[in-house]
Symmetry: C3
Subunit: 163 residues, 3 copies
């Protein structure tokens, strides 16, 4: 475990805590987050501040993890997966100035131990994805996903209760 | 307002006009476009030539704005949002050579004042997204979105007429 | 045709075979793949090892091509297109250690001559996309796409049999 700031043209890593054995590919933008041991972080990934990622987690290329996301151990996150934390995003406040992060209620999302999220899935804010659950590629997840279930579609629906 | 060309390993900005107070993150590819005042442009964003972006606009990470897109003021564009400008794209012309930009009719898309587009939304070409409208995360927008309405799904349908 | 390794801050190209007249934009991550003549590879594209891309192919920005993908000639791949090769991805094996590439059956996907894949489409593993077929933007393709047909939606369904 080390506290890492490494700003090169290929890796922008600012004030992150990175576990042992974790491999980070090129063209990444990681800041003020915590990543556990033996993880893999693909290219073109952005992880925002206060995100907490467990051990043995794969985050595949082009994925985006926003503030408010907690990823437990042994989780697979496919390519182009997008998390969100604001249910009704707007650019500007009612006073007409650009919103800052204090201007909206930040909703938390938790991806539980052993879950898998397929590529290009979109996760609405405030969701719990249960243990060993599987989110199909391209799914838009609008409510909690029960442990061990498989969900697919837009909006995502359960197609199998136990894997 | 300044005319900016800045080609560093972290930012490829070529012949853009950039407004005052606008913040541009790393790993961006912007060329021959116009961006207004007090905007935020996230990482891994590409904006093509002739795109016109107003003031107080947020363009979040990984989004792609193609030629033909006009974004008015106070607009929120989430992460991984994709615009399009060609209804029936093909790699090659009937003569079998790679198409150039003069080989297809470029359709325009307008995002009106105060609208919000959720993360991972896909916007088909030739669309008008009305004032203060909200496009849900993961939606695929195939026709115009009325002002103030909320649309979700694939294809996107109106679920609320007035926010 | 040349064997190319070129690791700059803007282009990570490792042990690729690149055809004549092919243009590669900045911020790309290409490794151990083969790309034919007169292709265009957009920014933020990742192409994994053993991918085989024909001639006159356009791969637009932010797309991801994984191992197991074969792209024939004259194919258009839009922006943010995501291929997959593992039907039931997991981060760790049953022994609890991070999976390696030998731990899952890699499924092949073929995009046949002249086909077009719209932006933000997701292609499930083991699919054949037929000659001159067109996959609509935002579609999630879960089964083979007949030659010349147009498919849209999630899951993608045929809306036109012959273009």
């Amino acid at each position: 475990m080390e506290d890492l700031t490494k700003q090169t043209p290929l890796q922008q890593i600012v004030s992150c805590t990175i576990g042992n054995g974790t491999k980070i590919y090129n063209f990444v933008n990681l800041y003020h987050c915590r990543i556990g041991d033996d993880c893999v972080i693909g290219s073109f990934v952005e992880v925002q501040k206060n995100v907490n990622i467990g051990n043995h987690v794969k985050i595949s290329s082009h994925s985006f993890l926003c503030e408010g996301v907690i990823v437990e151990d042994n989780v697979f996150i496919g390519h182009h997966v997008v998390f969100t934390n604001d249910k009704y995003p707007r650019a500007t406040s009612k006073r007409g100035v650009l919103k800052t992060e204090t201007d909206w209620p930040l909703l938390k999302t938790v991806v539980k131990n052993g879950a898998s999220i397929g590529s290009n899935a979109t996760i609405l804010p405030g969701i719990i994805i249960g243990e060993n659950a599987m989110v199909g590629a391209g799914a838009v997840v609008t409510k909690n996903v029960p442990s061990g279930s498989v969900v697919v579609g837009n909006p995502a629906k359960v197609i199998s209760k136990k894997m």
